[in-house]
């Protein structure tokens, strides 16, 4: 076999293959082995952070499908996560359904709500969806607080633990496998969706909606479909969140959470799957990073002691969104790509 200098693709099939080269297979297998054995030797706090990242990855993938692939801005992702989370909480603790039924119900209910919201907003071009979803998240918060017979209102609601085939998932380590499994399924689902006609239609709408319409893509239909699918995954992420936390409260799902998800996909890279994963993990780690910096600076400058505030995390999300959009529009994925190419082409520059 000839030496590969760049990527040579000889057919369309090769271009959309799930695993482009044998090396990707190898690396992914190694990574999966690492993930599978992590609870055996990893720090419990690391496991907890990975659990949070898994939830974030699922929701961020859903949002990236809508924003990154289809080019429609939604500011109501937190509201959809809330709907999913509350569906699971109510069905598991009040009705006592098993976990798989709760998961499907969460995804389903959220997708139906998304469909209902998407149809009026997505017929039009422009920012109507952004405005409508922002308002929608206010309404959802209001409904959750007011309908306290069902949702527990401001007192919050407890969620029963998951039990799979009689095994009760009562620790972070056990939850870990459950969450990782769901995350891998989601990644595969989205990756495959993007490779199909539907995924290409989404990208066509993002890049040139009129041209897409001309070549026979039903623009409104596909936009609504993207929004519904994105809501579905938000619902699944909500269910995962419910199960992981064991207790949910309307305060967990404010507009700030939506912006946090926006930060994830912008920082990670719009319209890329690997980017969503990078971004989700990165944003989950940002508060830890800031706490570490705050602690370090307290040691250096005693005057800063006790100045650490949750607000700094939020400011960091806003700042990250702006910085990445201005200086690195491709996000962490772009940086990763550049590093990879420079290694691949070494000792040549490009």
């Amino acid at each position: 076999m000839a030496i590969r200098s760049k990527t040579f693709r000889e057919s369309y099939y090769e271009d959309i293959k799930l695993f482009q080269t044998i090396w990707i297979r190898v690396w992914i297998s190694l990574f999966l082995i690492l993930l599978a054995t992590l609870p055996l030797w990893g720090n419990p706090y690391v496991i907890y952070l990975i659990n949070l990242s898994c939830i974030a990855v699922v929701a961020a993938l859903g949002l990236n499908l809508l924003i990154g692939y289809t080019g429609q801005i939604s500011l109501g992702h937190a509201a959809f996560i809330a709907i999913g989370a509350y569906t699971t909480a109510i069905l598991s603790s009040k009705v006592g359904l098993p976990f798989w039924a709760c998961l499907l119900a969460s995804g389903g209910v959220t997708a139906i709500v998304g469909l209902g919201l998407g149809i009026p907003c997505l017929r039009l071009k422009g920012l109507y969806l952004a405005m409508a979803t922002m308002s929608f998240s206010v309404v959802v918060e209001f409904v959750i607080i007011t309908w306290d017979k069902l949702t527990g209102g401001v007192r919050g609601i407890n969620v029963s633990k998951v039990s799979i085939f009689g095994v009760l998932l009562d620790s972070d380590n056990k939850m870990y496998y459950f969450l990782i499994g769901l995350t891998i399924l989601t990644v595969l689902a989205i990756k495959n969706l993007v490779r199909t006609r539907v995924g290409r239609a989404f990208i066509a709408i993002r890049d040139r909606d009129i041209a897409a319409e001309v070549i026979g893509v039903n623009v409104t239909g596909y936009k609504v479909m993207a929004f519904t699918i994105s809501s579905f995954f938000a619902g699944i992420a909500g269910a995962m969140y419910s199960y992981t936390m064991g207790y949910i409260h309307p305060e967990h799902f404010t507009l700030l959470l939506s912006v946090q998800y926006l930060a994830m996909i912008i920082v990670g890279g719009l319209g890329t799957i690997l980017g969503s994963i990078f971004g989700a993990v990165f944003i989950v780690l940002v508060p830890e990073l800031i706490k570490a910096i705050a602690r370090a600076s307290e040691v250096l400058i005693p005057a800063l002691k006790g100045k650490y505030d949750e607000e700094w995390n939020i400011a960091a999300f806003g700042l990250l969104i702006m910085i990445f959009l201005v200086f690195e529009a491709e996000g962490l994925y772009g940086i990763w790509g550049r590093i990879k190419t420079s290694f691949k082409n070494w000792p040549f520059t490009y």
Binding site: G126, A132, E311, A315, G318, I321, A329
Partner: protein, 298 residues
């Protein structure tokens, strides 16, 4: 029957007063949309910051009301110009999609900065208007409400004259119509954009100061901007008269449903009504009252 009619007029009048506030907020949004095609998601933060700023100037630094208002307005205008220069200028020529997201980033950044600077407490604004209500033919209105109406009307007239007769106003309309042609005609679009952001932030500051008079001053004031979305959409996104009429209409509808339905269903209907209206508009009259339906030829 007589009292029923009076009740209606009373609710209607206070609805107009609330609507004036919505109209002021919507005006700020529409100015920016009209000139630059950007929906500024950081508008609510400007409202919140200016009301907090005005409060602190009066409570902490013992400004009297008018100097505090003027200082706030000047700072808001500077903030607007600065925002345009630092945040929006680098995004010139980028897709609108990215520019809008940058305003979302900006909004969250400003909100947390306000949280750090001003704290999360609730403040009561030392209102300069006397508390006693005024009775006009059986309708009771507070002085604040009357001042809101007067100021909104004045601002609308000023804007009308500004856009119609002044050179800068003409330049702004030209830029809104077609940026490239405006450039060819020797209009400095950069200066126009900076001006637009400055003016929009000033309207936000005025709205913020009036809101401070009728509401508790805290970080949560940002959400008032979200309730102006229905007004903008009803007005058709880029029409200034649309924003005013949309704002008034939403204010009246909100108060009417609050006045009549709250007794039947229970509290809170008032807060959700604008959003229900928003969805209804999107369903049945998506381009609003004054919006033009864009026809694209390929």
């Amino acid at each position: 029957m007589k009292s029923g009619l009076l009740f209606f007029i009373q609710i209607f009048a206070s609805g107009i007063a609330v609507g004036c506030l919505y109209a002021l907020i919507a005006l700020g949004f529409v100015l920016i949309i009209k000139a630059t095609d950007i929906l500024n998601f950081a508008h609510g933060e400007v409202i919140m910051i200016s009301s907090l700023l005005c409060y602190f100037l009066m409570a902490k630094y013992h400004f009297s009301f008018l100097p505090a208002v003027l200082t706030t307005i000047v700072i808001a205008a500077l903030l607007g110009v600065l925002t345009e220069r630092v945040v929006l200028r680098p995004m010139l020529g980028e897709p609108i999609f990215a520019v809008v997201m940058i305003t979302i980033g900006l909004s969250i950044f400003l909100r947390s900065m306000a949280g750090i600077l001003f704290g999360h407490d609730n403040y009561v604004f030392p209102s300069p208007f006397p508390k006693e209500p005024i009775h006009l033919a059986g309708v009771t209105l507070s002085l604040t409400q009357i001042w809101v109406m007067i100021c909104t009307a004045l601002l609308v007239i000023i804007f009308f004259i500004f856009f119609k007769y002044s050179r800068m106003g003409l330049a702004m309309r030209g830029t809104a119509n077609n940026q490239e042609t405006a450039l060819l005609m020797g209009i400095s679009t950069k200066r126009v954009f900076a001006m637009v952001w400055g003016i929009a932030f000033v309207t936000a500051a005025i709205a913020g100061i009036f809101l401070a008079n009728v509401m508790v001053v805290n970080i949560g004031l940002t959400f008032t901007a979200i309730s102006a979305f229905p007004a903008i959409i009803l007005g058709g996104l880029e029409s200034i008269p649309g924003a005013i009429i949309g704002g008034l209409a939403i204010g009246v509808i909100e108060n009417l449903t609050g006045g009549y339905l709250d007794q039947m269903i229970g509290g809170g209907v008032k807060d959700v009504t604008p959003f229900v209206v928003l969805f209804l508009i999107l369903m049945f009259k998506p381009y609003g009252l004054f919006g033009k339906k864009e026809i694209e030829r390929v």
